[in-house]
């Protein structure tokens, strides 16, 4: 049952997001260098971390799918990657806003983490046409899992390569995040990270519950010998 615990999870998510945003605007002090602009970091970085972890989680589910052959793992893998791609769009948009606010350009190549993320995003964006191009359902699921595993291995390598490529002259602007973060900022950041992570889990659960419900409806339809409905997705795996 995918819907179990969904309400509690949603409430926890809403609570944490409210708390987090309140802390951002009412508690966290202004950064000495960047001022108000720095506040976007509480949104952008948790989104990025969550999306990346989501991609890795998708890869882990894919391994489980390959080893067990159970298509449920494929559904988990698909939804994880799907949600992380959506969060990825948010990462790029907030990253772009931050670039515009900091340097006046909508995109800069100077921040290696943002550039790495773009590349990872571009790779995972090919997940959809890749699935769509393979017609046989079983094969599609299997190959998608192979893709997810390969892409998961790719993520750390990519960050390493891009980080090395960036000129050492440009300081990593988010270095202040890792370095001496004052306690109040760290607390705010951690709460926001928890909020975004909870949001990801909640939305994934929502997605899986909806899929499961659709799957049950199809099953019922078959059992009743009722005429088939239209609009079947060619790529989203079914959950039953």
């Amino acid at each position: 049952m995918y819907g179990k615990g969904l309400r509690a999870l949603s409430i926890a998510t809403v609570a944490t997001i409210s708390l987090g945003f309140s802390l951002v605007f009412f508690y966290a002090p202004l950064d000495a260098d960047q001022g108000f602009i720095q506040k976007i970091f509480y949104l952008h970085v948790p989104l990025a971390i969550t999306a990346l972890v989501g991609f890795i989680v998708g890869g882990v589910f894919a391994i489980a799918h390959l080893r067990s052959g159970d298509s449920r793992w494929d559904a988990y893998s698909y939804v994880s990657i799907h949600m992380s791609v959506i969060f990825g769009v948010a990462v790029l948009v907030t990253g772009s806003i931050w670039a515009k606010a900091s340097w006046g350009h909508w995109w800069v190549w100077d921040e290696p983490t943002l550039v790495s993320f773009l590349i990872v995003f571009l790779l995972y964006a090919t997940y959809y046409p890749f699935r769509y191009a393979i017609e046989d359902r079983d094969r599609q699921a299997r190959y998608a899992s192979v893709f997810a595993v390969t892409a998961g291995a790719f993520v750390p390598l990519n960050f390493l390569a891009v980080r090395l490529a960036e000129s050492l002259v440009h300081p990593r602007v988010f270095a202040t995040a890792e370095g001496g973060l004052p306690g109040s900022m760290r607390l705010t950041f951690l709460v926001c990270l928890a909020a975004i992570a909870l949001l990801w889990v909640t939305l994934v659960k929502f997605e899986l519950t909806a899929k499961s419900a659709s799957g049950q409806v199809k099953r019922l339809r078959r059992a009743l010998d009722a005429p088939a409905a239209s609009g079947q997705s060619r790529i989203a795996p079914e959950v039953s």
């Binding site: 390959l66 393979i134 299997r142 192979v146 390969t150 291995a153 790719f154 390569a161």
Partner: protein
């Protein structure tokens, strides 16, 4: 069970023989690369290239020529029903991966043996950079061979085969391109080959090769199941 080495050698030999027989991809890939150089000459409005510009032109061209070859890697199997024979044969499936990757590696090396000298003649003023460049090429080709075989073997069962390989492969080889181009850049500097962070980039290439050879080895079995 046929020992893997024998199977590997047999598949490799078959592939190379097939390529020699048809003589298809390799001359086409080379011709494509040389024409691309000409286009770059006019597109960039340059008759000589140095440093990062030279590295960029060389690696972009090599990548696109490699993709042409990778597209063809499994096509012969699919069209002639070769997959069924291999699936029925009692061999280790990873021998197939190793053989295909090795065949692709050899194609890439032969391709580069042809077009890198052409590149040097067109755009460079000395061949001093070529020996160390060969090392970079070898490491990069290993990575290309691993990822290219992996993606190509998945794409062969899809509908938009020709589109899928470039689409998925190009982002996947970005770290490899970064490392290869960054290693090549100082090699092609105006004053003569430099070795700025050369070891670092070779290490990154090696790591990339290792990771994707391992991934290919681990997952290839699942690709041949029916």
């Amino acid at each position: 069970m046929t020992p893997s080495r024998t199977a590997f050698a047999a598949i490799l030999a078959k592939d190379l023989r097939a390529e020699l027989r048809t003589l298809q991809s390799l001359p086409a890939m080379a011709l494509f690369a040389v024409t691309t150089f000409v286009i770059f000459r006019f597109g960039l409005d340059r008759t000589a290239l140095f440093g990062s510009l030279a590295a960029g032109v060389l690696w972009a061209t090599l990548l696109f020529a490699a993709i042409l070859g990778i597209n063809r890697l499994f096509v012969a199997e699919r069209e002639e029903g070769g997959f069924d024979a291999i699936r029925l044969a009692p061999i280790d499936r990873t021998a197939l991966f190793a053989a295909k990757a090795a065949a692709l590696l050899i194609y890439l090396l032969v391709l580069e043996a042809i077009i890198v000298p052409v590149f040097a003649v067109f755009f460079l003023d000395s061949a001093a950079a070529l020996p160390p460049l060969a090392g970079v090429l070898l490491l990069a080709d290993l990575g290309l061979a691993a990822t290219g075989t992996l993606i190509s073997s998945m794409a062969v069962h899809s509908r938009a085969r020709d589109l899928l390989v470039p689409l998925v492969l190009l982002p996947l080889v970005v770290p490899l391109t970064i490392a290869a181009a960054s290693a090549t850049d100082p090699l092609l500097a105006i004053g003569g080959p430099g070795y700025d962070r050369f070891g670092t980039w070779l290490a990154v290439l090696g790591l990339y090769d290792l990771v994707f050879l391992l991934v290919g080895y681990a997952v290839f079995d699942f690709l041949l199941e029916d």
